[in-house]
């Protein structure tokens, strides 16, 4: 274990320092944005449409400008947050195996008294310990920051991976992935590149294709109200998915439909709406079309209370795959040619 720590010390310290910098940034930004939002959401700025008086418009616009400016920096924090754990895991994994094979120090290690399996197990134990120690506080901080900065509901895919413990499991998974890739590819640069591509494919595939199907979606009805007249007219929608939920899609369904509609039914109904809207004169609103066609404007969403269920699904997935990769690497390390 000491040997592994000694080998990975500089990487772990570098990532720990980076984590401190990112944490400090997220903390300062989070506190600042929390204050901005508290002011923005409180009177006199409460109410987006028509709720503002001439005297407080300037003040609220200023607040809105500050909030939207923070949004750009928020994207950077989210990007770093999403990439931190996978990169940390991948670099540790590449250093643990591919780098050793390239430097041929595996020949030194594999001709000592311990077995190859023990050599690899020590790497797993020391690296997973490093990952957990550094990522756990970072995860906690990111979770707080997501709430404080109002960047989105924590269940939304954009921030889901940095809102719970999934980040830790991503790091462990990436370590195991880099170990396995390194055993076969044997070159650090190529192993890292392959690890990044494989992880990105798995991460995006799981988040967009698998995760939505693991939760039970709900349906919310949107109520459209026409505002103003002539050129300044518009529609204000109320109702819809409750705050803190993950909106999967918007569309229409027949009023007679009960429960969650099928995708094909939603697509068919929505297409009918578009045809109606395109065919009629501007005086005829979507509300009228919906009434004529007997359709309801709906939102499909996953409620925020399913956040931890989905965290366990995604985190569990990464941990199970990491365990399988670890088993594969322990099997393969005995057969690595020198």
């Amino acid at each position: 274990m000491w040997v592994v720590w000694r080998q990975q010390r500089s990487i772990v310290i570098a990532f720990a320092l980076l984590a401190v910098v990112v944490s400090a940034w997220a903390l300062i930004m989070g506190l600042h944005e929390h204050t901005l939002w508290r002011e923005y959401l409180s009177a006199p700025c409460k109410g987006e449409f028509g709720g503002l008086t001439a005297s407080n418009v300037k003040f609220c616009e200023g607040l809105q400008f500050s909030v939207s400016n923070s949004g750009k920096l928020n994207e950077v924090v989210i990007g770093i947050g999403v990439a931190f754990a996978p990169l940390f895991g991948l670099i540790l994994g590449v250093n643990a195996v591919a780098h050793e094979i390239e430097q041929k120090t595996n020949r030194l290690a594999w001709t000592q008294s311990g077995s190859r399996a023990r050599w690899l197990m020590n790497k797993y134990l020391a690296s997973v310990a490093s990952l957990v120690v550094i990522l756990a506080p970072l995860c906690w901080l990111f979770s707080w920051w997501v709430g404080a900065s109002h960047v989105g509901a924590r269940i939304e895919p954009r921030v889901f991976a940095i809102s719970g413990f999934v980040e830790i499991t991503c790091g462990i998974f990436c370590f195991a992935l880099a170990v396995v890739v390194g055993l076969f590819v044997r070159r650090p640069g190529w192993s890292l590149a392959m690890g990044v591509v494989l992880f990105a494919a798995i991460f995006l595939g799981f988040a967009t294709q698998v995760l939505p199907s693991l939760a039970s979606p709900s349906v919310a009805v949107l109520q459209s109200t026409q505002l103003g007249m002539g050129s300044s007219s518009g529609f204000y929608s109320s109702g819809g998915a409750p705050s803190g939920s993950w909106t999967l899609s918007n569309g229409y369904e027949p009023k007679t439909e009960k429960g969650v509609p099928s995708t094909s039914l939603m697509n068919r109904s929505t297409n009918e709406m578009y045809k109606c809207e395109d065919a009629v004169t501007p005086q005829r609103s979507p509300t009228i079309c919906a009434k004529q066609l007997g359709l309801t404007d709906i939102q499909l969403y996953i409620p925020g209370n399913q956040f931890w269920t989905l965290q366990f699904f995604e985190g569990g997935f990464y941990l199970i795959v990491a365990a399988l990769l670890a088993a594969l690497s322990l099997f393969a390390v005995r057969r690595v040619k020198v």
């Binding site: 040997v3 041929k104 030194l108 290690a109 594999w110 001709t111 008294s113 311990g114 005995r334 020198v338």
Partner: protein
């Protein structure tokens, strides 16, 4: 319990790398308590044989036994008894020398820190130095220290002296001699330096084209080889029982390096006793595609 008399025993051993054989039909026995040299040109299979013996790779054909066991990545107890020095001398470059010794101590139950520190002190290699700051020769000495301090029964050294200056080279050879004398351990080393072979080895294995062409005690090898010279009369036949290893012809006559199992008495030939270096070179030349003489095993009068 039967005491092992050989430290390394190979029967029809082969190692295939995709389409080519790194080692083929290798049959040899290296007795216990010897300093044995593996000699051969680059690509002759020396490193391949040592890596298999160290359990780093597995044979593609035949059997190999080291200290009575089949070496493989799974034989943990054998690794405790065998020290291996790779030809690239891999070390953790960012470690300090003291940390390398700690690595050795943590990974080997038979480790002796005194042996390690004394060896490095004799060579003036500071324990606080970073491995990457050491010269190539010093790095080789640190790598060798890791092997020696493990106090193994068998030392497998792949070209241990190749990057050493003459003084360090002599120190290393003396150290190996002392190791064998003190601990009764055996040494198998690969080398290109035939002078080293003559100086410290008492057993020689010559490899050429991935095959063993000579394997025996150095004394016995010297005793059973002769240089036969004759002026003129180039077609004079040799008596039976003689194997021509290498033959050279020039304007004055013929010169043969031969293997003679029986006393040679033929007054027509001028008989000389070759050095071990000359014998090994003759086998290497005979096994080489550029060899300017006859191949090993080519005999006169059907004798072999």
């Amino acid at each position: 319990m039967i005491e092992e008399t050989s430290v390394l025993e190979a029967v029809n051993l082969g190692k295939r790398y995709r389409r080519t054989w790194g080692l083929q039909d290798c049959t040899l026995t290296i007795p216990k308590g010897r300093v044995a040299a593996l000699v051969g040109p680059n690509g002759s299979g020396k490193s391949t044989l040592l890596r298999m013996a160290a359990g780093l790779s597995e044979p593609s054909a035949g059997t190999l036994r080291v200290l009575g066991r089949s070496p493989s990545p799974g034989t943990n107890d054998l690794r405790e008894r065998v020290g291996y020095l790779d030809q690239d001398r891999p070390l953790y470059k960012s470690f300090r020398v003291a940390e390398m010794l700690r690595f050795g101590e943590m990974n080997n139950p038979t480790w002796s820190m005194d042996v390690a520190k004394n060896h490095l002190a004799r060579l003036d290699i500071p324990l606080r130095s970073r491995v990457s700051d050491l010269s190539g020769g010093q790095q080789a000495q640190v790598a060798l220290t890791l092997c020696l301090a493990k106090q193994p029964e068998l030392l497998l050294l792949d070209e241990p002296a190749s990057s050493l200056d003459p003084v360090a080279r002599e120190d290393l050879l003396r150290q190996l001699m002392r190791q064998v004398a003190d601990s009764e351990s055996s040494v198998v080393l690969s080398t290109h330096a035939l002078s080293d072979v003559a100086a410290i080895c008492d057993y020689v294995v010559v490899l050429a084209h991935a095959r063993v062409v000579l394997s025996d005690d150095t004394d016995y090898i010297v005793e059973t080889h002769r240089i036969l010279s004759i002026v003129g009369d180039g077609d004079l036949a040799l008596p039976p029982g003689i194997t021509v290893i290498h033959e050279q012809r020039n304007a004055r006559g013929r010169s043969l390096l031969v293997r003679v199992e029986l006393p040679f008495n033929d007054d027509r030939w001028l008989v000389d006793r070759p050095t071990l270096e000359e014998i090994v070179l003759a086998y290497l030349r005979a096994g080489s595609p550029r060899g300017d003489g006859r191949d090993v095993g080519e005999t006169e009068n059907g004798a072999r």
